[in-house]
Symmetry: C2
């Protein structure tokens, strides 16, 4: 299975520390070497990097580890191909525009016999179950709200319902963001942590690297990291319930939760 990493914050934050550990799972501490990708929102704009080389061997991954791009919403993915060949167009995250916003999506899992009726408004470029699921999600959201993006509470209920339909076909751990909120759904495995004042030091589980967040933050910063498996060894990560959809805004999950 693939690995997912998401970040949602209340102030633009760099993901260098978490990405450094995560990238090692692409070909070194794990066997996910069929490409990787990461998307950073910067306001309404997106920086989108994909590569079908293993993250551990990628010069672009190296750049990201060294160049602190600050963002309030990030989604990253390391691919272990289950459906679709190893090709750039099959690397997550995928990006589409809806309601005049870019939407970024990444999936970990495997959907069986999932061939929804796609009507041409969003068509997959590659041949993965994941991109089909994303196009279906975008198509159905636009069908429900043809003109403008609904309020977050309304959108959340619709996403939960659609995600439930997709997840009935198999494993559907996924992350989705429009740059203001980050939706994360757990079929089988996902956990998160909220880092906020008082910040402490964290030590990566995939590489011998520590950072003392107290030295690089202000007391009002809040950062949620959502990931397939905990990235650090000395912090307490919260596991998602199976079937849970959480929506992160300003570095924390919204109250209440939807079981999709």
């Amino acid at each position: 299975m693939c690995q997912l990493l998401g970040m949602n914050c209340n102030v633009p934050t760099d993901i260098v520390f978490s990405f450094t550990g995560f990238a090692h799972r692409g070909g070194r501490t794990d066997t996910h070497h069929d490409g990787w990708g990461i998307a950073f929102f910067e306001g309404k704009g997106v920086r989108h990097f994909v590569d079908h080389q293993a993250a551990i061997a990628s010069p672009i991954a190296e750049l990201i580890k060294q160049y602190p791009i600050k963002s309030t919403n990030v989604i990253a993915h390391i691919r272990k191909a289950t459906q679709g060949q190893v090709a750039l167009e099959n690397c997550h995250p995928f990006v589409r525009e809806l309601w005049g916003r870019y939407w970024v999506f990444a999936h970990n899992g495997d959907l069986k016999d999932f061939f929804p009726q796609l009507k041409g408004t969003f068509t997959p470029v590659g041949n993965t179950d994941s991109e089909r699921a994303f196009c279906f999600l975008m198509q159905e959201l636009r069908a429900r709200f043809p003109d403008t993006q609904p309020d977050l509470a309304v959108l959340r209920a619709s996403v939960a319902e659609l995600v439930g339909q997709i997840a009935a076909h198999g494993t559907f751990n996924m992350m989705l963001s429009d740059g203001t909120a980050l939706f994360a759904h757990c079929s089988t495995k996902l956990c998160y942590i909220v880092r906020q004042h008082p910040f402490t030091a964290a030590h990566l589980s995939d590489e011998d690297l520590s950072v003392d967040f107290a030295t690089v933050t202000t007391p009002r910063d809040r950062v949620a990291i959502i990931v397939t498996e905990p990235l650090t060894v000395n912090e307490k990560w919260t596991e998602f319930a199976l079937g849970e959809l959480l929506v992160f805004v300003d570095g924390m999950p919204l109250p209440g939760h939807a079981i999709a």
Copy 2:
């Protein structure tokens, strides 16, 4: 005005040499410092890099100059803001999906009072005249060919007609590609060169750098470079006619031409 650079080839080729000269126009040999961007097709996939820093100061531009990404279709842009503030979402090239292919678009010029009726299938994320023009193009092409991409000759005629409508509003030098063909339209300024066997040496006009293409090519390689102003001082560049739309496939312009 902005600067445009395109490459269309019959075999995947790196654009390091041309981009090196071009990037110097972003803040050093010219005053286009309001961001830049480049998109490389790799099969059906796209690597898309945008930055609102000047190209001359951008770590991502530095990576591209050093890391030979091979592609058959590339579009790059250096921005001098005329409409829309300096922001990531206003950096060209823009990317949208149509008919299950990514389409990449960049524009140089200025459109006056261009507010076409956009029906929601393609909506601008930023606030430039350029992205409005791109969304209009995509919307109208899908309206004419709702299901699948037409033959290139048919598509070319439609693009020429739509580009003509847009260009009536002002200056519309533009490049558009789906990864198989590169459409280039000249309102005021665009030129191209086809490099093929026997290859010779070329010397950049913006930096003291030469390359002998004979040492890095095979006799069957063919590369078209399309750019706002000639990049080299010792080669013969062909100027587009005003109003000319050329379509480049496999490293050369298709015979015939459409005046849009």
